[in-house]
């Protein structure tokens, strides 16, 4: 089962490697990982997608807590949350397909952010499933390059539980 963990960390040098070292050293897996500063520059927020049964997730959560630099771990998969991913796609846009690419991007509420004679760079944000869908639809037209962010997530309603 996939889980999305939101981890607040003291923003110290080497802190990311403490987290990734924990995962590799104990054989837990990381599917994606996203880190950035929070409003408080001394604190970073790391959003991490991992998988495992309940025991594994419990160990991961406890082990993360045990790191001296970790302030808080929330398994946001547990509750109601909004998740977003972003993708930048360089898709071929020849005379025959230019219009179709625009239509597709429009359906996915994406944007064209760069234009050249034979390709567009488009930007799409959304859930993991939506990103997968847009990629699948653009594939036959010709994707030249793709860059994806990891997933970020936030609980709905009030603040962090």
């Amino acid at each position: 089962m996939k889980h999305t963990l939101s981890v607040l960390l003291r923003n110290q040098p080497g802190v990311l490697s403490r987290v990734t070292g924990l995962f590799s050293g104990r054989g837990f897996n990381i599917e994606s990982l996203c880190v950035a500063e929070t409003l408080d520059p001394k604190v970073s927020c790391l959003t991490l997608i991992t998988s495992g049964d309940n025991n594994v997730i419990e160990q991961i959560t406890k082990q993360l807590h045990k790191l001296i630099d970790v302030l808080k771990v929330v398994d946001i998969g547990d509750g109601d949350f909004v998740e977003r991913e972003m993708v930048l796609i360089r898709v071929s846009a020849e005379a025959a397909t230019r219009a179709e690419v625009l239509r597709i991007i429009d359906i996915f509420r994406g944007k064209v952010v760069d234009v050249s004679p034979k390709s567009y760079v488009v930007e799409v944000t959304g859930s993991h499933a939506k990103i997968e869908a847009v990629i699948n639809i653009l594939k036959p037209i010709g994707i030249k390059e793709i860059v994806r962010t990891g997933k970020i997530a936030i609980a709905r309603g009030g603040a962090h539980k």
């Binding site: 040098p13 080497g14 490697s17 050293g25 160990q59 406890k62 045990k66 001296i68």
Partner: protein
């Protein structure tokens, strides 16, 4: 607030922490700190002969005193030599602070001479570590390092000190209470859980206390004793827990696990309640997991939440300091006027009789063979001639298990052994550290002929500091423990386990100016030990033991703990 050098500040911090002895080895990166130590007569610096030994000695010091041990190493190779010691302390949750020198901050990352990323290297084997790259953080970091090392589940903490920071002028601020928002260990048990645990104890007819190093680390022996005696609950200890409950007490079943007693392993297999305190269900204890304590409800007390339900799922988890949890359990029973303690005890009477039967059927034993020296006999003699009062360190191998089985540890902080990592070469430096801390105590390193050679250079340290440690080598001219596995599971193919060459240990001891004694027959053993204990200097005893003696009982790796090979 006053301006002093980084080196002076470090020394002041050590004094604040009550440190009186540190173990180390100098080099370019820490030369300024050493210079400062020379004018700090309140601090004894012990110059070891290899940095690994500095860390083991600090570890031994910490294990016998309960205080934080300190090691000081130079950058690069000095620091990497210390890594085995650090990992050893980490696996056994021993509070030590390791100070390492580092190249000056402007050179970090440039592959400078003797530069190594020791913070990166030790990240997975320290509780926490720091690189001080700002002079204003120096004092606070060292204070925090001590705090982290000794609180919660203790462990080694490393502080990497660049040379320019050691030389810098810094402001020394007064000490403030340390509070880390991201690190707040739970000490107090949850009373609801204590209540649940006590109800399970009341229901049990066949309870067992399974206790580990956590009881020793939290100084909970008295409270453990109170609980066990109050309700007549038999106790088994892990290797790390030996001494937390008196080994010679009627309720003690001795050690459990791979080389545990028949009684302890049978009792755990058949108990209906397992009360685990400060132990972590290590594979050497549980054997095959799906057959471990299958009939039992499990209560698990540990200060580290990650230890709970890691290997075995438990019924009543209690995240707490062991001493506080045991006190709470005792109080629960003490405050219940409606419960008759005598009735509670009598519920365990039949169980206790069963345990006695197991003990009679299969006590710890060995076969005597005339004048051949049996290693178990040597340990028994050491026990007898020191009244079971010595501090015993060990190396790793068969001798370690014989020490655990045949020396009766009746109080905590007497048995120093590398349980988690199993580090050969641990014993001699640990014994030196222990003797420095407790000069009033007899300190013995029970060693194998192979392990002793891993840090044998430390005899020089012992001699220099007039540290009269006694070493007892149970010499089988084999890598005995590995040989035993080869004998049992690899058709006696002794691949690289025969020590075809060894020094003359007695002559070697003499070369260091120490006393060397040898026994080749059983009748000589007692005299050798008496003589060793009588002289106030370092003594190395070489016992030529029966070579292919095995350690029994033995649970083969991966088997159920009831599938024991017996003598």
């Amino acid at each position: 607030m006053s301006q002093i050098t980084g080196a002076q500040a470090i020394v002041k911090c050590l004094m604040e922490e009550g440190v009186s002895t540190i173990f180390g080895y100098p080099g370019g990166a820490v030369i300024d700190l050493y210079d400062e130590l020379m004018s700090s007569p309140q601090l004894t610096h012990v110059l070891v002969r290899h940095e690994q030994a500095a860390v083991h000695a600090a570890d031994g010091y910490a294990r016998v005193t309960g205080e934080v041990g300190v090691a000081l190493l130079t950058s690069g190779p000095g620091a990497t030599n210390g890594v085995t010691g650090i990992a050893t302390a980490y696996m056994d949750s021993i509070p030590i602070v390791i100070l390492t020198g580092q190249v000056p901050t402007p050179l970090i990352g440039n592959d400078a001479f003797q530069e190594v990323d020791i913070v990166g290297i030790t990240r997975p084997c320290t509780k926490h570590n720091y690189l001080v790259n700002n002079r204003n953080d120096l004092v606070e970091t060292i204070r925090e390092a001590f705090y982290v090392a000794k609180t919660g589940r203790p462990g080694p903490v490393l502080v990497d000190l660049p040379k320019d920071i050691i030389k810098a002028d810094i402001d020394f601020e007064d000490r403030k209470p340390i509070r880390l928002q991201s690190y707040q260990p739970t000490y107090e048990p949850h009373m609801g859980q204590i209540d649940k645990a006590c109800r399970l104890i009341m229901e049990a007819r066949k309870p067992v206390l399974y206790v580990g190093g956590g009881v020793i680390l939290s100084n909970a022996s008295e409270e453990l004793r109170e609980l066990a005696l109050k309700l007549d609950i038999p106790v088994t200890m892990t290797l790390m827990g030996l001494g937390s409950f008196p080994g010679s007490h009627d309720l003690s079943m001795g050690m459990l696990g791979m080389h545990g007693t028949y009684t302890a392993n049978m009792a755990v297999a058949e108990c209906d309640l397992l009360i685990s305190v400060g132990a972590r269900f290590d594979d050497r204890v549980t054997g095959k997991l799906d057959t471990f304590a299958t009939n039992a409800k499990i209560i698990h007390v540990d200060i580290d939440p990650t230890s709970i339900s890691k290997n075995v799922s438990v019924d009543v988890p209690i995240v707490s300091d062991c001493r506080k949890a045991l006190t709470a359990l005792n109080n629960w029973f003490n405050n219940r006027q409606d419960i008759s303690i005598e009735d509670e005890k009598s519920k365990h009477q039949q169980w206790f009789e069963q345990i006695k039967r197991w003990q009679q059927q299969h006590p710890l034993t060995y076969i005597e063979e005339g004048e051949k020296i049996k290693p178990q006999y040597v340990v028994e003699m050491l026990d007898k001639l020191t009244d079971g009062e010595a501090i015993v360190a060990t190396e790793v191998g068969q001798h370690q298990m014989w020490a655990a089985q045949f020396y009766q540890f009746n109080s905590p902080r007497r048995f120093l052994t590398s349980g988690g990592l199993g580090t050969m070469g641990y014993g001699l430096p640990a014994a030196i550290g222990a003797k420095m801390a407790r000069p009033d105590k007899v300190c013995i390193d029970i060693a194998g002929d192979a392990s002793i050679q891993m840090n044998i250079q430390e005899i020089a340290t012992a001699m220099q500091y007039k540290c009269p440690v006694k070493v007892a080598i149970l010499n089988n001219r084999f890598l005995g423990m590995v040989r035993q596995w080869q004998e049992l599971f690899y058709e006696k193919r002794y691949a690289s386990t025969t020590m075809d060459f060894a020094p003359d240990f007695v002559a070697l001891a003499k070369a260091y100016g120490a006393v060397g004694l040898r026994a080749t027959r059983k009748s000589e053993v007692e005299d050798v030990i008496r003589e060793a204990l009588a002289v106030d200097t370092f003594v190395l005893m070489d016992f030529e033991i029966s070579r292919e003696e095995g350690v029994f009982p033995m649970v083969p790796a991966g088997k159920s703990t009831t599938e024991m090979l017996l003598v």
